[in-house]
Symmetry: C2
Subunit: 377 residues, 2 copies
Amino acid sequence: MFTLLGTDASSRARLGRLTTARGVIDTPAFMPVGTQASVKALDPRELLEMGTQILLGNTYHLSIRPGMDVIRAAGGLHAFMNWKGPILTDSGGFQVFSLAKIRKIHPHGVEFRSHLDGSLFFLGPKEAMEIQSALGSDIAMVFDDCPPHPSTPGDLRSSLDRTVTWARECRAQPRAASQAVFGIVQGGNQPDLRESCAKALVAMDFDGYAIGGVSVGEPEAQMMAAVECTEPFLPMDKPRYAMGLGTPAQMVELVARGVDMFDCVLPTRVARNGTAFTAKGTVSIKAGFNKMDWLPIEEGCECYACLHFSRAYLRHLLNVGEILGLRMLSVHNSHMYLRVMAQIRAHLKAGTFAEFRRMYAATYIPTKRVLEMRASS
Amino acid sequence: MFTLLGTDASSRARLGRLTTARGVIDTPAFMPVGTQASVKALDPRELLEMGTQILLGNTYHLSIRPGMDVIRAAGGLHAFMNWKGPILTDSGGFQVFSLAKIRKIHPHGVEFRSHLDGSLFFLGPKEAMEIQSALGSDIAMVFDDCPPHPSTPGDLRSSLDRTVTWARECRAQPRAASQAVFGIVQGGNQPDLRESCAKALVAMDFDGYAIGGVSVGEPEAQMMAAVECTEPFLPMDKPRYAMGLGTPAQMVELVARGVDMFDCVLPTRVARNGTAFTAKGTVSIKAGFNKMDWLPIEEGCECYACLHFSRAYLRHLLNVGEILGLRMLSVHNSHMYLRVMAQIRAHLKAGTFAEFRRMYAATYIPTKRVLEMRASS
């Protein structure tokens, strides 16, 4: 399924190719997030035009609305949302532990109430795998216990035990045809827990490994440390996926730490806020200084928004609440995330990744407000 | 500018062609409404794909936001919004008399406060034509006094005098290069006032004539009567435009009464409400009965939404508040309005309009709620 095409001499970065029944994914890869069977504000044509090779869907959200009866009747998530390429589905673990309002943890899953109407649900390894099988995703994630930040060492330990037990139960469940399953490494900020979790999961032989328990509100240094102390225990011949991360600059740094796959709500979330990502950081398109700016969001960018509209026009649309404004910012931001990955792959191929990484760290200025918007979905 | 290509034997319907510097408009024509320099939720590509030949823009809205300094600096409305085809701009008369909060009518215009922040504006014949010249629209409308429904005969009379005086003042103003100007016939529900207004305007020799003071909350019969008592006094060799109308069935009936051009906010407005137009009337896509409906909004429809998505999927998107849902309903509804016009033109060409009109009246079931949503923008 995964082919390692090359490694970087200056870092732990890898160039690879992930092959699924529905298509090939070049890694490092960014996966636009379609939580509720739609990447916010975008249509499938726009996603294809910007080079999307794989989308994300979500067990928790989709099983609440529209409900699995609807998606089963549609013949799975691909048919339901008319996306013919690969889909990775999250297991719902993250949402159960972050979004759901009331819950009781049982040995084989979690009882919780929907954050929408309080209706009662039960999700465990068996249910999460059954749902993902019905969704028909190309890559399913194990159902994990994702502890909040910060957690006590004792809480982290018992959460970790559940994560490992549940991963084993997920591994034993039936899957959809040609569905891959990834394990999720937890362990918070404790290197020994991260190591033991990674080793336990690797022993179960998953198709890939995710680093979870990041993007939960922890500082950036701690997020990087969690990846650094996990990655050495993951096999070279399987893809690694950092869940819910990050800003463009963070993704470059995470690639340098051996990560192959990313998903993040930031591109579409900050778009709805009137903010655009550029190679130099974020910029408010809504701001007054764009009133008469006839340049595109980012010069040289080849996204649909930059090819057709000025900052001044987009600022106007955002200011008067026209949907086209946030549509176009969502196009630009998602395109920008995919472009960063394409640039990373080109530099890995050319052997110039070290230089690219240095340049990116020097020129991309992160915004505190944007960093704070990363957590939770 | 206008070529009358044929007339219908069974009614006053006409087949025509309107030629502007930026492109040809086949009539009868529907003009999607881009009040604030954007047709709500749609992008220019989608508008072209569905066969849009002319868009509407609005003097009142655009002069408040983004303001004429911005649009002048952009080089006009076409460049600002990146729409290369023809644009018709309304003069702002309708909005000043319906939206603006406080106003004082002077001999040469109206002093009013913006409905948004209360800032003071003055709009009269001179200002409206100056603004439309700067917008650079292909067709400008005269600045009229649009009385509310109902109005007393006395009010209608004095309003009409202003409308005629202001039309004369507009006619004398300088225009943008190759800009056409249409007069607007007012007169409420008084046939004698409609007749005298039409005759006065025709004597001024405009490039086209609009029937105004409709779509102001009057019952359908009265709207039809207003058109019937105006149309006989309009020249055959100039286009006639019924402002702010209507439902698909109403447009068919108005074509039969000699109208060539339409604009209406309904297609995108009801879309945002989760409602779709079909040849048989409106249908709520949000409704529970679509939960497992795998057919498109309308079978046989060739719009992007119907070619790609099921009612069940669109219902889900609308229910969870995903923007793609209202985007796709806006695509379908606008496409449907343009398709009705294409059908009308084909039947006029084939000499089968009478049959089409009978069929439409028999099968299109209007919705009271939708009729009520027509008025004002």
